[in-house]
C-alpha cells in the first residue's frame, strides 16, 4: 500500500455565477483513515464531493482520487470507489434482494456476504419492497449496496441526515466495521459531531467556500481552548489577541475561546494582571461553533506543524 493521498486537490475551485461555491481547496486525505468533512450548510461540502466524483466540472484547479485525475477516472477504477448521497436512488418496486442482484451485475468484486451482513445489521427483510421501507431502512439498503462492492474509498455525503438514532448508530457501527481493513479510507461529510468524535481520525472544516482547518481531530481539539481569567475587580479591556475567536465577560472574569494559544498570547494576558489564568479544554461542538462563529478573528489550522505553539 502506498502512502500517496487517496484524495488530493490543488486549488480546486467552482463558481456558480459570480459566487465561488468552493474556493482554492487544498485537501489531502491519507490512505486508511476516517476523514470527516465539516462546515455549515452551503459552505461547499456537497459541491466539493460532486467535483471529486466527476459529477460536476471544476471551474479551475485539479484533484485526484486513488491517483486518477477526477476529470477522467477509468470505469474500472470507479468500481473501487463507493459513494453514498443524501438522496437515495432506488427502484421503488424492487425488493431488497432484487436491488442487491441488480447492483451486483455492475461490480466484479461484489461481496454478497457484506451485502447480507449490512442488510442484517439494519434488520431488513430480503423480500421487503423498497416502497415499503422506512427512511432508516432505505439508508441501510443504500449502505449495503455501496459497501458490497468492497470499495477502497468510501465517500459519504451526510449519510446520517434524517436518520433516527438507532439507524444512525447502525451506520456508524458499519463505518467502524469497515476500519477492520487497514487499507480502506472513509471520507464523509456530517453535522453530527458526536459521530465525528467517535469515528474520525482527521477533519477538514469548510467555511463559506474556504478551507479553514485540515488536521487530525486531536490537533483541532488541542488548538481551540478556553482561557479563563479571574480578576479582583471588573476585567479590563482586551488588547488585540491573535487567534481570539470569542470573548465572554462577566462581573469578575473573562472567558476567551482562542485558537493557537501560546506563550506570547499568555504574556499579553498576564500583562492584564489577572488573579488567575486557567486553561480548559472545550467540547468539539463548542470549539467548532466558536471557530465558525461570526464574531472572532478567522484563524486557520491547516497542518499539524502549524498547530504547534
Amino acid at each position: 500500500m502506498s502512502d500517496q493521498p487517496v484524495i488530493r486537490t490543488r486549488g480546486l475551485t467552482r463558481y456558480f455565477g459570480a459566487k465561488p461555491a468552493v474556493y482554492e481547496l487544498e485537501l489531502q486525505v491519507p490512505p486508511g483513515c476516517v476523514f470527516a468533512f465539516l462546515g455549515r450548510n452551503g459552505s461547499g461540502k456537497t459541491t466539493t464531493i460532486r467535483m471529486l466524483l466527476g459529477l460536476l466540472q471544476p471551474t479551475r484547479g485539479e484533484g485526484s482520487l486513488l491517483g486518477h485525475d477526477i476529470r477522467a477516472i477509468p470505469p474500472a477504477e470507479r468500481a473501487r470507489i463507493g459513494y453514498l448521497t443524501e438522496e437515495h436512488q432506488l427502484y421503488r418496486w424492487m425488493t431488497v434482494r432484487e436491488c442487491g442482484e441488480f447492483q451486483s451485475r455492475f461490480y466484479p468484486r461484489w461481496n454478497e456476504k457484506i451485502f447480507r451482513g449490512v442488510i442484517g445489521h439494519f434488520a431488513l427483510k430480503p423480500g421487503a419492497r423498497v416502497k415499503e421501507l422506512s427512511r432508516g431502512e432505505r439508508a441501510g439498503l443504500c449502505l449495503a449496496l455501496t459497501l458490497a462492492p468492497d470499495p477502497e474509498l468510501l465517500i459519504l455525503d451526510d449519510p446520517t441526515l434524517g436518520l433516527d438514532p438507532v439507524a444512525r448508530r447502525s451506520l456508524v457501527e458499519s463505518m467502524i466495521y469497515l476500519t477492520r481493513r487497514a487499507d480502506r479510507t472513509i471520507f464523509f461529510s456530517s453535522h453530527q459531531l458526536a459521530d465525528v468524535e467517535r469515528v474520525a481520525d482527521y477533519i477538514a472544516v469548510l467555511d463559506r467556500s474556504v478551507l479553514r482547518a485540515s488536521c487530525s481531530l486531536e490537533t483541532f481539539r488541542n488548538s481551540v481552548q478556553e482561557i479563563r481569567l479571574r480578576f479582583s475587580a471588573a476585567p479590563p479591556a482586551l488588547p488585540e489577541i491573535p487567534g481570539l475567536l470569542q470573548a465572554f465577560r462577566s462581573e469578575n472574569d473573562l472567558r476567551l475561546i482562542c485558537a493557537h494559544y501560546n506563550g506570547s498570547v499568555e504574556q499579553k494576558l498576564r500583562a492584564l494582571s489577572p488573579a488567575s489564568i486557567e486553561i480548559a479544554p472545550i467540547s468539539l461542538e463548542d470549539a467548532l461553533i466558536s471557530y465558525l462563529g461570526e464574531r472572532g478573528e478567522k484563524s486557520f489550522i491547516l497542518s499539524e506543524a502549524e498547530a504547534q505553539p
Binding site: E173, A194, R198, V199, D201, P281, I282, L284
Partner: protein, 132 residues
Amino acid sequence: MTFRIAISTGSPAPIYRQITDQVRMAVATGKLKIGDQLPSVRALAEDLVLNPNTVARAYTDLTREGLIESRAGRGVFIARKRKVFTREEGRRRLEPLLDALIGEAMVMDFTREELREAFQKKLSQWKDGGTE
C-alpha cells in the same frame, strides 16, 4: 467488581482521555487489579462504537505509563499498581470533589462538626490503598 468503560461524546475531555482516566481511576481504587485483562483494542472499539485508533491511542498512553502491558498473543493486562496522578494533579482533581461534597452537605443543613465526624468515620472504614 466488574469494570466497564463508559464514554460520552460532547464532553470537554477527548474520548481517549476518558478511557485513560477511567482505567487509571479503576486501578487506583482497586476495581482493577494486577493481572486483570482489558479488552483488545478492536473489541473495546466495537463495544464502545469508536474508531479503533482512539482506543489504541489510550492504550499507548497507559502502556507508556507502565499501567498496562500487552502480552503477545494473549491480550492486554494491568501491569502494576503505581501512583497514577502526580501530587499536584491529584490536588487539582480533589478540589472540585471536596467543594461538591461540602456544598451538598451544607444544603442538607449538616453542621461543620457533623460533617467532620462523618468524614472521619468514613475514612476509618476505608482500607489503605491507592498508592504503592
